[in-house]
Amino acid sequence: MMENAISVKGLTKSFKDVEVLKGVDFEVRRGEIFALLGSNGAGKTTTVNILATLLRQSGGVASVCGFDVEKQPDEVRKSISMTGQFAAVDGILTGRENLILIARLRGVENPAKLADDLLDQFSLTDAANKRAATYSGGMARRLDIAMSLVGAPKVIFLDEPTTGLDPEGRQEVWKTIKALAKGGTTIMLTTQYLEEAEQLAGRIAILHDGRIIANGTLAELKKLFPPAKVEYVEKQPSLEEIFLAIIGQKESA
């Protein structure tokens, strides 16, 4: 029955007279990594905020783990974890205290043990008792994601998980996300980095100007790209080219 972890149909959202989402449809299967790709202002964060019950939609239906985000927000919150655009860690608390705080709020048994396990899993044990404000960008983001794992949520939202990180930090976070997906957690991430979607996601949807303009595996998206150039040049189109081509078509249409 519950084949889809996330289901979004005809989702719209307006802020005053600005229509940010103009009818978004997509589904995320259980256990997959799904990337919502789009440039700044495409509506990625708005979509994630609606799914995480932080924002109400103007129209359409969205459900997470079978629960309607508008009618059953409490049930949705029990099933999800949200990692926002900036690492939401408490800089004055240590890494360990941050994890214990979330564990206690989620009513986890033995918060201290869970914190130690997660610190170990995310290679933060050495920094466990340092204030999170002293962490590097990559470390803070790792702690942030570790905090999202507390209570073993079924679905994790990662809103631009590597924005603002240096290449090394980005590699660290990618490794973490790949490891998470192996554990069977459904992950929906947003990104404006095409390479990131290509690296991580099983399926990619391109959100442009408030609508999903393409949705599929990387291989499927590549097929959408018509080989317009001279045939004998053996050059696979990069996802960036696909993206720009699709946007170009939409705007000239």
Partner: protein, 250 residues
């Protein structure tokens, strides 16, 4: 309730780890108290009469100033939680949404009570004396708590809506100076007509007069009801706008 307690513990840990916030909040009112007692105190005594203990006289005004500057930190803490995404983190968790807000409000009350206790101690060293009974002291504590609560709800609004850290705390400056334009340091009747009218009808005067009367074992008269009405009224109006701002926080 449980999550409010956990989040309250988190914020109190913030305060204990940066004790400078409490010291900074207490130091300005204490400096002002020293200035009034030692610089102006002699002149005040000769005009108020020798039987007036001027440390007692100016203490309530200093306490209100301390609260007004203390709640600026409440706004700053909320602004920090908003901009660092802590509200989003907590509000997407299976806990009561209001517990995050109440944790901030309770922290504001607790932090300000610590500051007030500190100022009472310094006042005691300067010669503050009171023979007030337990009921009067409870009334003093109650009014100070209510006033802190009222200003805390005021502070929540810029804390949630401000666009910068400075913007979040700037609202407190006029509140800090309010006691100067009241009966806190000099009797309002010595002021020019327009100023006097303002002083006699602003909240600081009724609250200061009530606190002073309670601490000096004098009858409070109707002033206490005016003081309470101000506290409750400010609380109610600010609470309405604070809740409206909080509902819009993502």
């Amino acid at each position: 309730m449980k999550s409010t307690g956990i989040l309250f513990g988190r914020l109190m840990r913030h305060i204990l780890r940066s004790p400078d916030t409490i010291i900074t909040v207490a130091i300005t009112p204490i400096a002002i108290m020293l200035m009034f007692v030692y610089v102006f105190g002699g002149a005040m005594k000769s005009s108020l009469g020798d039987n007036v203990n001027y440390v007692n006289y100016q203490l309530p005004g200093v306490l209100l100033m301390a609260i007004a500057s203390g709640i600026a930190y409440t706004a700053v803490r909320m602004y920090g939680d908003k901009t660092q995404g802590m509200f989003s983190r907590f509000n997407s968790m299976p806990i009561r949404r209001s517990s995050v807000l109440w944790a901030h409000v309770l922290t504001s009350l607790a932090a300000n009570m610590i500051t007030i206790a500190l100022i009472f101690l310094v006042a005691l060293l300067l010669g503050f004396r009171s023979s007030a009974g337990i009921l009067s002291w409870l009334a003093v504590a109650g009014i100070l708590l209510l006033f802190t609560l009222a200003l805390t709800w005021v502070a929540v609004i810029p804390g949630l809506k401000a666009k910068s850290m400075d913007g979040a705390s700037a609202f407190s400056y006029p509140l800090i100076f309010l006691p100067f334009l009241s009966s806190a340091f000099v009797p309002a009747k010595t002021m020019p007509v327009g100023l006097r009218a303002f002083a006699e009808h602003q909240p600081a005067t009724s609250i200061v007069d009530t606190l002073r009367a309670l601490l000096n074992c004098e009858p409070v008269g109707n002033g206490i009801w005016v003081a309470l009405a101000w506290c409750v009224g400010i609380s109610a109006v600010a609470w309405f706008f604070a809740m409206r701002a909080y509902r819009r926080v993502k």
